[in-house]
Symmetry: C2
Subunit: 290 residues, 2 copies
Amino acid sequence: MMYGALEAGGTKMVMAVMNDSGEMLGSVSIPTKTPDETVPEMIGYFRDKGITALGIGSFGPLDLNPASPSYGSVTESPKLSWRHFPLRQAFAEALGIPVMIDTDVNAAALAEYRLGAAKGKNSCLYVTVGTGIGGGLVINGEPVHGLMHPEIGHILLVPDLEDPSPDGFCPYHTHCLEGLAAGPAVEKRWGVSGRDLPEGHPAWALEAKYLAQLCANAVLSFSPEIIILGGGIMQQKHLFPLIRREALRLLNGYIPEYLFGDGMSGYIVEPGLGTASGITGAYLLARGRS
Amino acid sequence: MMYGALEAGGTKMVMAVMNDSGEMLGSVSIPTKTPDETVPEMIGYFRDKGITALGIGSFGPLDLNPASPSYGSVTESPKLSWRHFPLRQAFAEALGIPVMIDTDVNAAALAEYRLGAAKGKNSCLYVTVGTGIGGGLVINGEPVHGLMHPEIGHILLVPDLEDPSPDGFCPYHTHCLEGLAAGPAVEKRWGVSGRDLPEGHPAWALEAKYLAQLCANAVLSFSPEIIILGGGIMQQKHLFPLIRREALRLLNGYIPEYLFGDGMSGYIVEPGLGTASGITGAYLLARGRS
């Protein structure tokens, strides 16, 4: 059996065809333009590949309530041309096969849970820290949707006293995580892209403090068995030890430290699947529980 | 079949015997002293009741990892005589029946999920706001344990600019929820017990702001389908509309408001089972999935 996988991102669409064993038989990436321009090209790619199901991990927000008339549609996205676009339905109608959809980050969390850094655990939080900040969550073996789906990038954080831009840069929220710590926030605060900030720059100690607040609040709120941090900003690998140390400082022994293992080195970790978590998760959505 | 239920609290132990239909056939409450004083009395109560299983919803923290040698024990509790007491094991050995255990708040969340305000939902957050603040969580149909279990009372909040005690009163954390908003924090901040503060006192607007931060961060972090607030402080029913209004203000439309229904009036709610959520949850633990 062959499966299609689509990782629908704000800047590019990654498509792949994979077999039962999870081998990738082909993959292509195209820029994300308007639905009118992009969707027919994607459908064209999948149409003659003999796939029996398609999985989509998409930017959001999405309507993931199966009982809703707009199930599988993009909802209030800042990408205006995609707002209210019936993403799942467009592929289901054109291809005539089952199409499964979840957020890009829930797909990545699912892939890490089944095949990556969280394999063997019962729950995981996957957070991507890049142009935006988003989180996917697997608990009790299933991705979490709930009322809508997690939007952990927008939790409210305590601004750091030494932050020159303590309100952050989110148009919706004063001092939310994304507004304080996503790539654009780093660039606006320091006037340079994160890529050009050296390892010892105070930007990184501050970044680590905010990501540590995220991790501490996640531990306290829903107690994931592991936290996986991916995305462009986390290519700064030197952030990991800073985040772990600060998270332990914030928790201050309230959660016994032995539960986290050695200094959280196995608790706050890089993705086990590298940059392939998203597309792998889309494939797993297509496969279902099999 | 008859089932035993124990709601183990810091000040009292509530025991009940219930039948298959959930009818309570007897109930008794005794003060919580040391394990040596309290446990034999509890065992004596249950011993001749013909129960086939016992469910315990207990104050924590607890070891809830079934693979752990100390599964079902109290761990680093501030109640020193109970620290490392093998609660589940003590009853299992004395009564020779299956004993199921979870946190008091997870038991309450389970009861609200199966029989109370969250009936028909797929997830719920139950928070008790009283002498302490604790939260139980049901997601994808099961109580959430994860690494340990949620300790949502200790998430870090942004102190309010008008709070005369913005650091709060938690011995572990500066400005965590419990330290800012539990009953003792209200009393320390204002010099009067919450019971004696009139409805218009600024204490309540502040209290609502902190509980709204909890609710907003919960929505963003793990997207529960409903949030249930119980406990002594929430007897101040006038808090509910204040919390809902402030939570909507904090979210600022990022999560579409129609998802919450009318002004969150059905989203941030009182317990459907009143003060019986905890003991009912202990009974449901005893019954298992049946």
